[in-house]
């Protein structure tokens, strides 16, 4: 492929197209309202999401979220990789809970191959999945404080999250991107003393939750800023495909961990599915806080009941997946994350559709943010909770 120098006309056309694109930044029309551009690098947004809002005074007339600043094209990239290579890539979709991204893909591949991981590997996968959830939701609780100007919770969150990340690191070697799941099982078994240490850390997590309930959710300012703000009715939430805590905060009792029959260890754990009926920003935060507690409960139980045995099923060294199609989704920290895998009996997938939670969760914003006040945009977006990599794929 050769690159030719653009002609002057082409360059001018390019610049004018860019200028038209940038014009929205400076648009100020007092009669029809004002256009406010939030992002792509605004400190109050999580990364490079850009939101263009048309305002009437302090009120939003309409908003249009503009995604794609971080589009990496995973669906195209996985088509040229072999199955074992895919997990490294998909680790980076929702980077705060990387091992949760691997699990649905591995499960879909195993389903197509007709194999199942041995029980010990299923337990360990579930433990890592839940630890990813804890680390993720701790970050959320700290971050939710930052959205309303409370910086203290963030420091507690960063301090206590580190304990969880250290455990991930000591078993896999990676704090953020463990890439520990393999087709048929796990890469390695646990290091010595890991289980006791994890159970001890789960007690710290529970203490952190108590602290946050007091410090953040019990705070009067926080309640004023979130209660009754950004209400999503259950019907609307479903039609937009909201999942995870956003859906459960609207009163829909649905959790894939309980409702779907996986070869995972959730069915052996005793936990509650947390719902709330208000559907506002406060409810979403509250549900996530309780879910952190439930996750710590699950980890503690599974660590105590962990069965002995192999951690890897017998799989051929060169993995060829039989022809077929499968969709497997799991309940990830952000919501339902699933992979639709199409195999043609080859070394690599023919097509993979990545169903990420944030993409659906954020697509509701044009509906949800209509009529709210400007400062509430930030708290609502914070409580919807998204990760840019999860929107942009």
């Amino acid at each position: 492929m050769t690159v030719t120098e653009p002609t002057e006309a082409e360059q001018l056309a390019y610049i004018s197209a860019k200028a038209a694109d940038a014009r929205i930044n400076v648009e100020l029309e007092t009669e029809e309202g004002m256009t406010l551009n939030i992002g792509p690098q605004h400190p109050a947004t999580h990364g490079t999401l850009r939101i263009v809002a048309k305002l009437d005074g302090e009120q939003v007339l309409w908003v249009e979220p503009i995604a794609g600043y971080m589009h990496r094209g995973y669906e195209k990239l996985v088509e040229v990789r072999t199955y074992p290579q895919v997990t490294t890539l998909v680790n980076r979709i929702d980077w705060l809970a990387a091992s949760c991204n691997e699990v649905p893909f591995i499960l879909a591949t195993e389903q197509l191959m007709g194999i199942e991981a041995p029980p010990r590997a299923q337990y360990l996968r579930t433990i890592f999945h839940e630890m990813g959830r804890i680390a993720h939701l701790m970050m959320f609780l700290g971050d939710m404080g930052v959205q309303i100007g409370a910086l203290t919770p963030m420091f507690y969150a960063l301090r206590d999250r580190e304990f969880v990340l250290n455990q991930t690191e000591s078993v896999s070697g990676g704090r953020f991107h463990p890439n520990f799941n393999r087709i048929g099982g796990l890469k390695d078994d646990l290091p010595k003393g890991w289980l006791d240490e994890t159970v001890r850390i789960m007690r710290k997590v529970l203490a952190f939750c108590d602290l946050m309930e007091d410090l953040l959710l019990g705070n009067e300012i926080f309640q004023q800023r979130t209660r009754g703000i950004g209400i999503i009715p259950a019907e609307i939430a479903q039609s937009y495909g909201l999942s995870g805590a956003n859906l459960r905060a609207s009163g829909v009792d649905w959790d894939l961990r309980r409702d779907c029959d996986y070869p995972m260890a959730w069915k052996h754990a005793d936990f509650d599915v947390i719902t709330h009926t208000d559907g506002d920003s406060f409810a979403r935060t509250w549900v996530r806080l309780q879910e952190t507690r439930e996750a710590a409960k699950i980890v503690t139980q599974l660590c105590e009941d962990l069965p002995a045995g192999p951690i890897m099923a017998k799989v051929p060294r060169i993995i060829k997946v039989p022809e077929g199609e499968a969709y497997v989704a799991t309940e990830n920290p952000l919501g339902e994350m699933g992979y639709y895998v199409v195999s043609k009996g080859d070394l690599g997938p023919f097509r993979v559709r990545v169903r990420t939670a944030s993409f659906n969760n954020i697509s509701i914003t044009p509906w949800l943010l209509r009529g709210v006040y400007v400062p509430d945009i930030i708290t609502i977006l914070g409580s919807l909770y998204f990760i840019l990599g999860d929107i942009d794929k």
Binding site: G68, Q111, N360
Partner: protein
């Protein structure tokens, strides 16, 4: 306690179970759908205990979802996407010959029109749209609906359009925009069918199989070592050099 392999001991049993297993919930749902939609359901497939696929006629795409939502309570929109069934002319870029100029001619897609191997629930055209909707009151009960996208005009490699389902599921909005930019499939009645990920002036539809992945054409992929034969293995001698 240590079992040598679970694949050896469990896989055959599991296969038997699957063969014997009948999924009554999904069978019943499929029968009901067939009754209401009649000839619109062209094909179907059930993976017992897991998934139900139906393939409908593109003209009934919207009516199918309206029926699923209003009469069956499938209120949860999961995702919408498309599949390009043309075999990739590039492969995984493992052998350079495909990329070398004057190498093997890329298989002309148009002469294979209608001849592609398609997946579960069949298919007749190169492009197929699919969407999954779920009924949250019944655990994991969901339907994956597929439809063949009719070609635009006479060219089988140019997909035409299907009706937009945003009037039934508001969440389909972004998914249809993404499918539009990635495959070039039109959605009639969509409010704003513009690019969502790609820059506004981007040309081409990246997820089509005949769209090359530039990163691979520029630099050979080192990941090929992952599928090299084991050293000292039976077919070691013909090991590729890359």
């Amino acid at each position: 306690m240590i079992r040598l392999s679970s694949a050896d001991t469990e896989a055959p049993e599991q296969a038997e179970d699957e063969a014997a297993e009948t999924d009554e919930r999904r069978e019943a749902l499929l029968a009901e759908l067939g009754e209401h939609l009649g000839d619109a359901v062209l094909d179907s497939h059930i993976a017992p205990g897991r998934q139900l696929w139906i393939r409908v006629d593109a003209g009934s795409w919207l009516a199918t979802f309206r029926h699923l939502r209003d009469d069956h309570g499938f209120r949860f929109f999961d995702f919408l996407s498309a599949i390009d069934w043309m075999p990739s002319p590039y492969g995984r870029y493992e052998d350079a010959t495909v990329d070398v100029e004057g190498g093997p001619a890329r298989p002309g897609p148009s002469d294979a029109a209608g001849g592609y191997a398609t997946g579960v629930a069949g298919g007749e055209t190169r492009f197929q749209v699919l969407a999954r909707v779920a009924k949250l009151t019944e655990g994991d009960l969901a339907v994956i609906v597929k439809a063949d996208v009719p070609p635009a005009g006479d060219d089988p490699d140019q997909p035409g359009s299907v009706p937009s389902i945003t009037s039934v599921y508001a969440g389909a909005d972004w998914h249809e925009r993404e499918t539009h930019e990635m495959f070039g499939i039109g959605f009639e009645g969509h409010r704003y069918l513009e690019h969502i990920y790609l820059p506004s002036g981007f040309e081409g539809h990246p997820l089509r199989k005949d769209y090359p992945l530039l990163a691979r054409t520029v630099k050979p992929w080192p990941g090929i070592v992952d599928v090299e034969p084991m050293p000292g293995g039976a077919d070691d001698e013909e090991g590729e050099e890359s």
